[in-house]
């Protein structure tokens, strides 16, 4: 039976603004399926975003949503979670929004291990502003501001999140659409900061400059480079050259920030000792 996405979409919002073939729509559908599988109540779910193509996502979902300043999704979301700890807080955003402008907020949200789920759509570029290179643009790939190739090495968002202290880190691709909802659902259920990186495609500003003939070629690339974590265990280092691991990459248990903060409140109520 066809999935009823309209249940979670604000009436009259479709068709969305994303370009033909943009993977953000696939991620939006995955997020809706994840919300549905967990039976999240609309009034108890907050989706927070910054600025960018990916950050337009909350506008389409019929629940509590916040569209905030560039890169500040994690800061606003932390406020929402601290004020209303019973809410399910989901952050969405792109690679530039999350790791460049919002890099500071991102690493500190990970460090605090606050119970939120951050879905980062990594399309290797700033799409909305005209295709400038972002921290995740691969080495020597072209962007509008690096017409001869990007000399910078790129960020590995999953490793960054693990290093900063997130306790659930997963990676999926827009090609493996059926995996996205499972990863996001697992992230929402996890108590602590969950980071889910979804490798995406931007045919308009990234694909065209980097000799990808079509969105199909970009999708095929995602299909080729993605290797599930379990399959990678049996592969040699040589075979893993140029591949990107997908699935749940890291999971740990660490005290969650809201609970820890509550302990401080309790202690303060007892007076200074």
């Amino acid at each position: 039976m066809a999935f009823d996405y309209e249940k979670y979409i604000r009436p009259g919002k479709l068709p969305h603004i994303w370009c033909p073939g943009c993977g953000h729509g696939i991620v939006l559908k995955g997020l809706i399926r994840a919300m549905d599988s967990l039976n999240l109540k609309k009034e108890e779910t907050a989706i927070v975003s910054g600025i960018g193509c990916a950050s337009r996502l909350p506008g389409y979902v019929d629940c509590c949503t916040l569209h905030t300043a560039h890169g500040r999704a994690a800061a606003f979301a932390t406020g929402v979670k601290m004020a209303r700890p019973e809410m399910n807080v989901i952050l969405v955003g792109g690679d530039g929004d999350g790791t460049a402008i919002g890099g500071n907020h991102f690493i500190h949200a990970c460090r605090r291990n606050i119970d939120m789920t951050y879905v980062i759509m990594n399309n290797y570029i700033y799409g909305m502003t005209g295709g400038q290179f972002s921290p995740t643009t691969p080495h020597m790939m072209k962007a509008s501001t690096t017409p001869y190739g990007n000399p910078d090495p790129s960020f590995d968002i999953a490793k960054l999140a693990i290093g900063a202290g997130a306790t659930f880190v997963a990676r999926g691709t827009a090609f493996n659409a059926s995996q996205i909802d499972k990863l996001i659902a697992e992230g929402i259920q996890h108590k602590g900061m969950s980071v889910i990186e979804i490798l995406d495609d931007c045919p308009t500003t990234y694909g065209r400059r980097n000799k990808y003939k079509s969105v199909i070629e970009m999708m095929n690339r995602l299909k080729e480079v993605a290797v599930p974590v379990k399959a990678a265990e049996k592969m040699t280092a040589e075979q893993l050259q140029g591949k990107i691991l997908t699935g749940v990459l890291f999971k740990a248990d660490r005290p969650e920030y809201c609970a820890e903060y509550q302990k401080v409140i309790e202690r303060a109520k007892g007076g200074a000792k």
Partner: protein, 67 residues
């Protein structure tokens, strides 16, 4: 007679379709084709109800009713 009953129904919302061709390309049995700028069903009898077109459509334009 049961053969015909098992055929799914594929609904295409043409107003939403942006013609990216992801569904056409990644359909394992090539059920779909492009008709102008939007996708259309070429051969429904080949459909194996894998739902990949519905899952991968970024624009909410395809719905597969399998039962």
């Amino acid at each position: 007679m049961s053969e015909e009953k098992k055929l799914p129904r594929i609904e295409i919302i043409e107003r939403y379709c942006k013609g990216c061709q992801i569904c056409v390309e990644f359909c394992p049995t090539k059920v779909l084709e492009m008709k102008g700028f939007v996708v259309s069903v070429k051969d429904l009898s080949k459909c194996i109800k894998c739902m990949q077109c519905e899952l991968r459509c970024p624009d909410f334009a395809i719905k597969v009713y399998a039962e």
